[in-house]
Symmetry: C2
Subunit: 425 residues, 2 copies
């Protein structure tokens, strides 16, 4: 992609009301656009990042038997009344609208109720269980205050998976498999080291739910790390009883700010009983299905990645989710023949990389080296290659990783091969 043709340019300033680092950087770098407070559109570079994150999640969900579906934004009032979650007192983030006939519809802030009700049509016997369905679905949440940039918004895409099992043992097997899948996801997007399996409030159904909390100063939560066991406890459930139960000592815990990047939850049979999702077991008895739910907010995760890796010059993308892998910067030259040679080398490098399926941005603008380098740093593509009079005098390009301050020259004859090695690492 030629940078001059890319929709969504860098800008010097972010909107004045935008205080979160992730949104400031993503707005300035041309990844997102702020439609209103807590509502962001994704421009080409931003969309590419979300699609890479989604694909990693999709692969891991499929690997543990998840089947992808897509539910609807419009939801039936009656379903949420059955579980006592329709009123604004029970759920204070509803957006609601009216059909032409005057009846109310809900706008999806979550999907347990509609999915579980739907599942009733496909589950009769124990032979139909267990299974897992998931979706990448837009959620609308009427937050009083939207802050933290793209980490807490009024509209966002969530991966939500729902597991349906015959009994608690079967549920636990799925729950454990999902835990492992989640850890692989956070590892693949570059947050493995910083992300902790965290005991959190279980609500009405179980003692605990489990969060995946990434340690970051931008986090809205306070958790207590037990680094040695790679566990954490959310402040909301920390007490002596819980510590004893988890065999943790208070003095060995470390208080940190963290952001919840994933949440897994055991609903038990409560929701199935409320909505009437029953099955006939092998013993001929009618039983309620055991439900689990497993969420990851895509924008939230992207925001946390930005917060974690960014430096004072801009975003630093891990290779696995970067919108492109290579950022070619061609510089101006006074000598016309040299200028042409620079253009030609950069252009053919760009084309060869794209032909190899290696996503590449080529900054071919008629702009200063300083401006181009500043933009490259802001955008945060992992590998920057500079083509200039200086590098061509040595038949080379300058090779610099965004995550490093070092640069070195690589011969033109070797550069494609080195890039292929770098990409496959």
């Amino acid at each position: 992609m030629r940078y001059s043709r890319l929709f969504g340019k860098t800008t010097k300033t972010a909107p004045a009301d935008e205080t979160a680092k992730n949104a400031q950087l993503l707005l300035k770098a041309g990844f997102i656009y702020k439609e209103m407070a807590g509502v962001y559109a994704y421009l080409p570079l931003g969309l590419r990042v979300t699609e890479k994150i989604k694909q990693i999640i999709r692969e891991e969900m499929n690997a543990v038997g998840g089947q992808e579906i897509i539910m609807t934004t419009l939801q039936r009032k009656e379903l949420w009344e059955k579980t006592d979650r329709w009123s604004d007192e029970a759920v204070d983030i509803w957006f609601k609208a009216q059909l032409k006939n005057g009846s109310e519809v809900g706008l999806a802030w979550s999907h347990e109720e509609p999915i579980t009700d739907m599942v009733k049509n496909y589950v009769g016997s124990y032979r139909d269980l267990p299974f897992c369905v998931y979706q990448f679905q837009n959620k609308l949440r009427n937050e009083t205050r939207a802050k933290s940039g793209i980490m807490r918004t009024r509209e966002f895409v969530m991966k939500d998976l729902y597991s349906y099992a015959r009994n608690n043992e079967e549920h636990q097997v799925i729950y454990d498999a999902m835990t492992q899948a989640y850890l692989r996801i956070f590892d693949r997007v570059g947050l493995g080291e910083q992300t902790y399996f965290t005991f959190a409030s279980g609500g009405a159904f179980t003692q605990f739910s489990h969060e995946f909390q990434t340690v970051t100063p931008a986090g809205e939560d306070t958790i207590y790390l037990y680094r040695a066991k790679r566990l954490a406890v959310n402040k909301e459930v920390l007490n002596d009883e819980v510590l004893a139960q988890l065999d943790l000592k208070r003095e060995e815990l470390e208080e940190v700010a963290a952001s919840e990047v994933g949440n897994i939850f055991n609903f038990g049979t409560t929701k199935s009983e409320q909505l009437g999702l029953m099955f006939t077991d092998e013993d001929g008895k009618t039983k309620p299905v055991v439900l689990g739910s497993y969420g990851i907010g895509i924008g939230r995760l992207m925001g946390v990645i930005v917060e974690h890796y960014a430096d004072e010059r801009g975003i630093v993308w891990p290779k696995s989710v970067a919108p492109a892998l290579v950022h070619i910067v061609s510089l101006k030259a006074k000598d016309e023949a040299m200028a042409e040679r620079i253009e030609q080398i950069a252009s053919s490098l760009h084309d060869e990389l794209e032909n190899l399926g290696i996503e590449t941005i080529w900054d071919e603008r008629d702009a200063s080296a300083g401006e181009k380098f500043a933009d490259a740093d802001l955008i945060g593509i992992p590998l920057r290659l500079v083509v200039s009079e200086k590098t061509l005098k040595e038949d080379s390009v300058e090779w610099k990783l965004r995550s490093s301050t070092e640069s070195r020259f690589v011969k033109l004859d070797d550069v494609l091969e080195e890039i292929e090695v770098y990409v496959s690492e």
Copy 2:
């Protein structure tokens, strides 16, 4: 995919209120689920079809320079007030909701206004033009009556592309390129023959817009075909003046029912003027940008494909959008060794095809041949392979295309190679 594990089984009956053939078949075949009137969820098989349709559209939009983004469902009232389209009198399909502070937000039924307003942030000079951005975005439309199954719904995904050009000549070049891209899309999804470039009402901005109308008895529109020129005229604009202008003779036209599968539209500079999207041209003058919009409803297109190809036994998918290419049916056998051999052959064929990246459903249920054949016909996968005692006695599988009534035996040693040829055809 083993059919017994697939979420979304076939059912004998569709909801009583569902009269459209497309929705009846898709509901019975387990592709979609009806959440409420005019609102459908997509189950694994249905989602696969929509993703294939989207990928074809994506490739064609990218090929003519489209850049993919994603806007938001929540929209600002003020933008639609500027173009006099906020009131329910002006636009009678709005869903609206309230933020916590009491102010109103719109729920996206279209995106010209927000996209055009956003573009103001990235366009200053003629150098920033032309460009095209598109999205696959959920639209919510408060239809009084939802009918025609998935062809007219209250919630659906639309590909909408917006082109921004410096002047009418530049706009026309893009408009013509999009026309060609649209024809390629309808060709690739299997509707090329039946789809006509159609003159339709242009609204306030131009004399005509252009629709792509697919001839089908299920269509809601009436158009007049001029087969020889592969043109049509929508009934809404047919009069003597228009006929003269297009050099068509009334007696050579053929009245047919058709469904609009695509629509392209020239907004001229009206919307840019209303929203203030101006640029400085090469001559130093400030001018409004010329806007075009180009839509394809994904569910609509899927519904029309179903309507067009279905027969009395069920759906018939074209290869390009089929949720899988091969449907293996293994039959029961009384002899235990033979039953095992059938299972083993079918299983290894299934695994080999999946390893080759050829999507395959294997119906391994303990069900009768009649039930399995009926389900295979209903689901409509292009190639059915039967493994049974009868076929294995000849070291073969039975090969039958869904679109044909003929079947033949293919030797086990040859079947993989024949499938690869079939798939690549």
